[in-house]
């Protein structure tokens, strides 16, 4: 029903917008006596101007109203809920979602004809089985409706209806006012184009600041929940404890250190695979390969970067893991006849596959960077009688070193933040171990496991994921900023 009202309001505003567009255009033309050359701007700009003033303030208010109204109503209703319900162990969120659900159910029941509007306002749990009535129209409730919840829901519906009425009025008046004023001012001397362009420019600015908004959103959303977490759980345990053992009955050990160790260990294995292969591939492609080999090999290598990580995850879990087990595991039946590896998930599994994924990342970044080393540097070295490899090792690579370090840092940040490969390939055991054939877990896998399935956003076991996420964000952001800074400095040096 709410959607219905909103829909009609939007339609009405849009209709007014069209009318304003046509009217303003016509008025401008007539003001110029039919000679559009006398106008300051093209006639369409007068139309755009009017349309803008009709639609934008009205729709803006509409959006803000729709977002603010439920929150205000919920706050008001929540204050009125009797305290004993909260003491019964219901969290605020659970409570409110119950209220919302019942209110929605009543809406559905009314629109399905199972109830009259009047009955929905008056119905009492003492006299009728609200749950079964709602159930009959397809709204399933988890438990019987408490009287307090029902009356709160009715209050909710009432406030919503009143709010909607006000909103309709305010929005339509705003739209009409905008239309009237903008059509009225559409004279020959009105600088319609400048106004429209200023508006477009402000829209462009809004779009550009969305990037900032996203970052702020990321930081704030994680910061608030992390603070909640640290209110429930000692920060000393999170940063300096030695155990990761979430326990949904409470009293968990939630330390990031074992996860950080797993993350770093896997990343190191991955970089040990990716750096030599990627770097040598880049050296070969930029210094030795002819144009044909380059045109063939470079895009092929880059395909590896375009493959979704879920594919690598599956590759780790179902191909590389079992392959490693057949070498290092299975006792007598294995290739080495040893029993060092018991399951497919292990640090080595995830590290190897992540390394493969990072090869093109390292190689194409290093390739760019090696190409940025001036040819004069190579000529100088070759002219002294050094071989190509001596030139590369002693002149080109040292010159490119800062850039390559930047590339490696970017790759490291990728490795630390990678999720799917470790979710499928690394395992779930948090521990400090040096054995690469054991399963270990990472920050990202724990974020996934703490935030999927049944989650209670009031328990430290769930909220810890936000603290983990924040740590991950800070870690990768630090690496990225550093890497981008180094690379930028490096490029400026040769420009």
């Amino acid at each position: 029903m709410a959607l219905g009202v909103t829909g009609y309001v939007i339609l009405a505003v849009l209709a007014l917008t069209v009318v304003a567009f046509i009217a303003a255009k016509a008025r401008a033309k007539s003001a110029a006596g039919g000679d559009v050359r006398l106008l300051h701007s093209l006639p369409n700009y007068y139309g755009y101007n009017a349309a803008m003033f009709t639609a934008v303030p009205a729709l803006g208010v509409l959006v803000i109203w729709l977002m603010a109204q439920p929150m205000l109503i919920e706050n008001a209703i929540f204050d009125r809920l009797p305290d004993h319900l909260i003491e019964d162990g219901f969290s605020r969120n659970l409570m409110m979602s119950d209220v919302r659900r019942v209110a929605e159910g009543l809406d559905v029941a009314v629109s399905a004809g199972a109830m009259t509007e009047e009955r929905a306002d008056r119905i009492r749990t003492e006299f009728s089985d609200v749950r079964s009535i709602l159930g009959s129209v397809g709204v399933a409730l988890g438990s019987d409706v408490r009287p307090e919840v029902l009356s709160a829901a009715q209050q909710y519906r009432k406030s919503s209806a009143i709010g909607m009425g006000w909103m309709t009025g305010v929005v339509l008046i705003l739209a009409a006012l905008g239309a009237f004023v903008s059509v009225f001012v559409s004279g020959a001397d009105f600088r319609a184009r400048n106004v429209v362009e200023r508006f477009v420019l402000s829209m462009l600015i809004v779009a550009a600041s969305l990037a900032i908004l996203t970052t702020v959103g990321i930081v704030l959303s994680m910061l608030f929940e992390s603070l909640n977490f640290f209110r429930m759980h000692p920060w000393t345990d999170f940063f300096f404890g030695g155990q990761w053992a979430p326990n949904f009955r409470g009293n968990s050990d939630l330390s990031i250190l074992p996860l950080l160790w797993g993350t770093l260990y896997i990343s190191i294995v991955a970089l040990m695979v990716a750096i030599p292969i990627g770097l040598f591939a880049a050296i070969y492609l930029s210094e030795y390969a002819g144009p044909k080999v380059r045109a063939f090999a470079k895009p092929l290598l880059e395909i590896l970067a375009g493959i979704p990580t879920i594919v690598y995850g599956l590759f780790a879990l179902l191909t590389v893991g079992p392959f490693l087990v057949s070498i290092f595991g299975r006792g007598e039946a294995g290739l080495l006849g040893v029993d060092w590896m018991s399951g497919a998930t292990a640090v080595l599994t995830a590290g190897l596959v992540m390394g493969i994924m990072l090869i093109p990342f390292v190689s194409s970044l290093s390739d760019d960077i090696i190409n940025a080393v001036p040819q004069a540097m190579r000529d100088g070295s070759l002219g002294l009688g050094s071989t190509k490899s001596e030139t590369i090792r002693q002149v080109v690579l040292p010159a490119a070193l800062p850039g390559i370090v930047g590339a490696v840092l970017l790759a490291a940040s990728r490795a630390i933040g990678e999720t799917m490969i470790v979710v499928l390939g690394a395992g779930a055991i948090a521990k400090f171990s040096l054995n690469p054939l054991e399963a270990m877990t990472t920050i990202t896998t724990r974020i996934v496991s703490q935030l999927t399935g049944d989650t209670d956003f009031a328990s430290p076991e769930t909220l810890v994921a936000f603290a983990l996420g924040l740590t991950l964000f800070v870690l990768t952001l630090g690496l990225n900023v550093l890497a981008l800074y180094i690379v930028r400095r490096y490029r400026e040096q040769y420009e």
Partner: protein, 265 residues
């Protein structure tokens, strides 16, 4: 340093160091050097002059096979150093370039310390048995390049921090350090200011004592000042080759005369 110095120059015949016969160079389909025959003498400064794009730098790069690094470039004909064909299959360009050093148009010191820049050649060619010998080579090379007094207190400073003229002299020191027999210089002063140019020119004259120096230059004055022999290139052909004095005062070919007098360029 005035142009009249050429008249005082000793013009004794010297041993022939490089002999080029019938040299052709192609860049893909472009015939860049046509039928060049030239004999370059030992312990002499030979200047290659000519308008831009005439092929003088290309020919210079043939003399130590630097053209090998360009894929589309093809060289035909014979170039012999001390009677040995340098385009022979058995010749390792690396060994050749140790013998025929090169200094480039723009100073290109490595992003290393001044010391390491100079020591680079001796290190890769294994010229020093120990640190003391290497120190000696570095010092001698820097002295030969007339830059020792300016840098002796900051040998571990990066070579890229020097001024343009210093950088170019450092590059010359770097080339001298490998103890080449021939030193090729591709417009070594074009990126330098007049004072630095004068320093480098003076240095080139000194280097003649030990090496055969071949210098490509845009500046006729420079060729007249530093060289004993001059070769004039035009559109890929070697037009005229002879004593510098003769070329500048009494050229045989009308094209040479046009160039010298500034009618083509």
């Amino acid at each position: 340093m005035n142009d009249m110095r050429i008249l005082e120059r000793d013009v004794d015949a010297k041993a022939i160091k490089i002999a080029a016969r019938n040299v052709q160079v192609f860049y893909g389909d472009n015939h860049a050097i046509k039928d060049v025959d030239v004999d370059i003498e030992d312990k002499t400064v030979t200047a290659f002059i000519g308008p831009s794009g005439c092929g003088k730098s290309t020919f210079l790069r043939c003399l130590n096979r630097m053209n090998d690094t360009i894929d589309v470039c093809r060289v035909e004909g014979d170039i012999a150093i001390d009677g040995e064909d340098i385009y022979d299959k058995r010749v390792d360009p690396v060994q050749l370039r140790a013998k025929v050093g090169m200094v480039f148009q723009k100073p290109n010191p490595f992003p290393k310390s001044i010391y390491d820049n100079v020591a680079y050649g001796p290190r890769i060619h294994g010229l020093a048995q120990n640190k003391a010998e290497l120190d000696e080579i570095v010092e001698h090379s820097l002295r030969s390049a007339a830059i020792w007094d300016e840098v002796k207190d900051r040998l571990s400073a990066p070579g890229t921090g020097l001024s343009g003229g210093q950088q170019q002299r450092l590059c010359i020191a770097r080339a001298v350090a490998t103890q080449p027999e021939v030193l090729l210089m591709d417009e070594p002063c074009s990126a330098l200011d007049p004072i630095a140019t004068a320093q480098v020119e003076e240095l080139i004259d000194d280097l003649r004592q030990n090496f055969s120096v071949v210098i490509v230059t845009h500046s006729m004055q420079q060729a007249a000042r530093v060289s004993q022999k001059t070769a004039f290139f035009h559109l890929g052909n070697l037009v005229e080759y002879g004593e510098t004095g003769t070329i500048f005062t009494n050229p045989v070919d009308p094209r040479t005369e046009s160039y010298i007098t500034g009618r083509i360029g």
